[in-house]
Symmetry: C3
Subunit: 356 residues, 3 copies
């Protein structure tokens, strides 16, 4: 199977330089592209390499095009953001071969008669859908998923196998929930009485916007009274924990193993590196970037990059530095003593001078 560049440009935009009838069979990085591929130049440093590419066509930015064109003889698609174009083109190629699940409910699924399932939705084997749930158009729910009472799954959203989506929670359109994700589990809310914990019922929901991806085995707690909110375009990787009543702003992305404690309010367009942790009730401004492995223990009200992890070293060196870190106040005392000693010496010296 192959497609014409004219077709790709019609679908994904960009300015085509070269034959619209050029056929390409797939998309590949510069170093791996063969003569039937289309490739892309997303980093200007690789311009020379791009110029030598064997690919039938190249996606390039206006800035890079002139230089590439000096040596490259294939077709070019010129577009502002070649990497984004690559993503869209790859989606297009994938759609051509993807097996679209047939509409309808698998006979082994357990769908409550009081649930509303759109006729265009696909409900896979051994899925459970409870009463009052609403499953939108072109939704795909793969095998083994659970959708609770009165939950709402927006149009074209995809639940991979073995997702759990609890009662009354809501997700918008074009979302992706990966396997093992649990949405709307109870938050960790207890009152303590004489050392014993008494459960506080968690009666809020999780409300998720459009175009949200949630990774495998990620968990999102329902709100205690109010809702946990995840705005449009948020991307959560695998193994993430989002506490009750968190609010995550639009187009924020979190890498794997991140944890966000309850009631944290996180801005838009933020990024969190893997295993970063955010304490509860904090506020994080828009455009904040937290490095992997960092512990956010106070609110961050200014955009920027923030970091806090202990640098890696050979174990023997770490043992030395860690021992000193443990006793840094001793070191500070020594410095103070030194400062004092020098002051004394200097004073004596000037005293001597005065006397002389």
């Amino acid at each position: 199977m192959s497609i014409r560049l004219a077709e790709l440009v019609e679908r994904c935009g960009g300015e085509l330089i070269g034959s619209p009838d050029t056929q390409v069979t797939g998309i590949a990085p510069l170093t791996e592209a063969g003569v039937s591929h289309i490739s892309f130049l997303s980093n200007s440093k690789l311009r020379a390499q791009a110029g030598q590419s064997r690919a039938a066509a190249l996606i390039v930015s206006p800035n890079d095009d002139a230089l590439v064109a000096q040596t490259y003889t294939g077709a070019r698609i010129v577009t502002k953001n070649p990497y984004a174009y690559f993503a869209r083109a790859a989606q297009y190629f994938e759609a051509l071969t993807a097996i679209v699940p047939a509409p309808g409910v698998h006979p082994s699924a357990s769908v409550d008669p009081a649930a509303q399932v759109d006729a265009t939705a696909h409900i896979g084997p051994l899925v459970t859908i409870e009463a009052g749930a609403v499953i939108g158009a072109h939704v795909v729910i793969d095998a083994g998923c659970y959708v609770g009472r009165d939950a709402v799954i927006g149009a074209s959203t995809h639940l991979f196998a073995n997702v759990t989506f609890h009662a009354r929670c809501v997700i918008g359109a074009r979302g992706i929930l990966h396997s093992g994700a649990v949405i709307g589990t109870d938050g960790f809310g207890f009152a303590n009485e004489g050392g014993v914990y008494i459960k506080i019922p968690q009666t809020g929901r999780v409300v998720i916007g459009d175009d949200v991806d949630i990774g495998a085995n990620t968990t999102v707690d329902r709100g205690a009274l109010a809702d946990t909110v995840i705005e449009d375009g948020v991307k959560l990787d695998n193994q993430i924990q989002i506490g009750h009543n968190c609010h995550i702003g639009a187009h924020t992305a979190m890498a794997g193993c991140v944890g966000v404690a309850g009631s944290a309010k996180i801005g838009k367009y933020c990024t969190f590196g893997g295993a970063a942790m955010v304490l509860g009730h904090l506020t994080i401004a828009d455009h904040v970037h937290v490095s992997s492995g960092s512990m956010v223990s106070r609110s961050i009200l200014e955009p920027g990059q923030y970091t806090g992890f202990y640098p890696l070293a050979k174990n023997s060196e770490w043992e030395k530095s860690a021992a000193i870190v443990r006793n840094l106040s001793t070191m500070r005392e020594k410095i103070r003593s030194l400062e004092k000693a020098i002051k004394t010496i200097t004073n004596q010296a000037s005293g001597h001078k005065d006397e002389s």
Copy 2:
């Protein structure tokens, strides 16, 4: 739906001051309570605010009651621990509207004929229960759960959808296992022979007491030979890992993403902040509190609060501090040199004096 305060006090205790016929429709925090709500004052600093509350009734402590009563004209329930009372009252309100799952086994469930399921238990769709398992009175097992051979689920325990509870493990009464939790998976036990790992069979169980909550996607390993033990009243949040042969004392609580390596012995009434880690074979005393993101690499034999995480900073500042941390032994050397130099100077100075 609304309830009379008399009914609430009969159920939850406390001293009612005001009309027993006062009707309330729900419970809400001070700032959100409307005229038909009951609210609560759990923090004395908010006494003034409580005095102005619109709520039909207030839950207050004996200490705060007199001051609140000066301005507040609604009914009051006086009780030692208003927050705990709030939790109980909220449970009561929730129970009024909760849909109680009907007793019986869903036709799509796969229950081995050699399993014992109490007639009052609810077994949801597509659940698997293996031979020899014992399911107690009023147990609720939601869709997609798995209960292994000879496992025991105590009375009124609730397994949310898609829990895995392995063979021979035991949980007591009134427990809650959240979706995706895995109880009784094999511990990580291997013998190494020439670099290759040979699996050591994990033949112990997980034995869980009464009133234990285990969060979504949390995993608890079965013991290698002896059992992994979780005592009464323990509360584990989501995404936690408990290694084989751990022993967790009663009423200890762990926030999300905590990890406890094998054979750790943790006391009663401890708390662990999110993503804290405990190494294997350690002992943690009762009433130890570990801050979020802290690595417990040695036993803690004294109660108290313990912390160990690198403080967050702007990335540029972190880079500076991390570079110095890497070279702290150099800094220590410099201080030693300075101390020596000053000693020399001081000695010379006093030498000069002696000479003069």
Copy 3:
């Protein structure tokens, strides 16, 4: 049930000293072994204790045997690596009592007619197997598992309940996938355009070798274009995240809660302590050992032990040390000032001398 030592030695090797007709009913550690057990001495420091053991038989190394034999009167199995022998013997004992799942497909399972299931495989209740999947000889797939299109499960591999194994992924022989594990979920790949993320289709596979164990709720991403590769003998504990296009060398082991970001290349015979994190695109050499809780933020090209976590302290002490860590550059400045001051003093002193 009991077995003769002759039978054990025939199966597991080793040199038997004593009666081949000695019967043992199970295997137990030195301190717990009773008169019908076989025990083992894996640590020479315990030789004296072993000599006093009540066990019917002992597994000992050639080095320890002579000393043990001075006081111990039971049978001995002499072998180079008693701990590995213990593991094998324990496997043997376990196999004697294990319930072997019957071959065949449970009637409640949903197996696509276009899947190939070996006649010796066991497919449990409520399992889904998609078209084109290939299930090898003696494979055991427990209840609630999902196996995607064209996936390949090698001979004698065991999927515990509720595993998700996605389309086109491959696992070799004798693997163990624990409950809640998700293999072949989409990697976290997006192109950013004006702040908005565009999904890059993840079309690679996960390719897993022989004798690989993957823990409960562990997630392994499929490759973006190329494959994610896990070589023979790798052991992954619970709650681990492996990003897309990672390559994990043979016989590497990772403890619980480890995270490995995309495209990391990890060598053979490595070990990672719990909650260690590895950033993306790094290279880790063979025989590298990373301590628990350590953040690997750069490639490690030399074997050895590496560590990087903030040492735990009482919270009040940590607050002091953390405040100093935040201001280490101030401390460095002070040291520089001191060095300068001393230089000045020393110069003046020698100046004085010159003048004198």
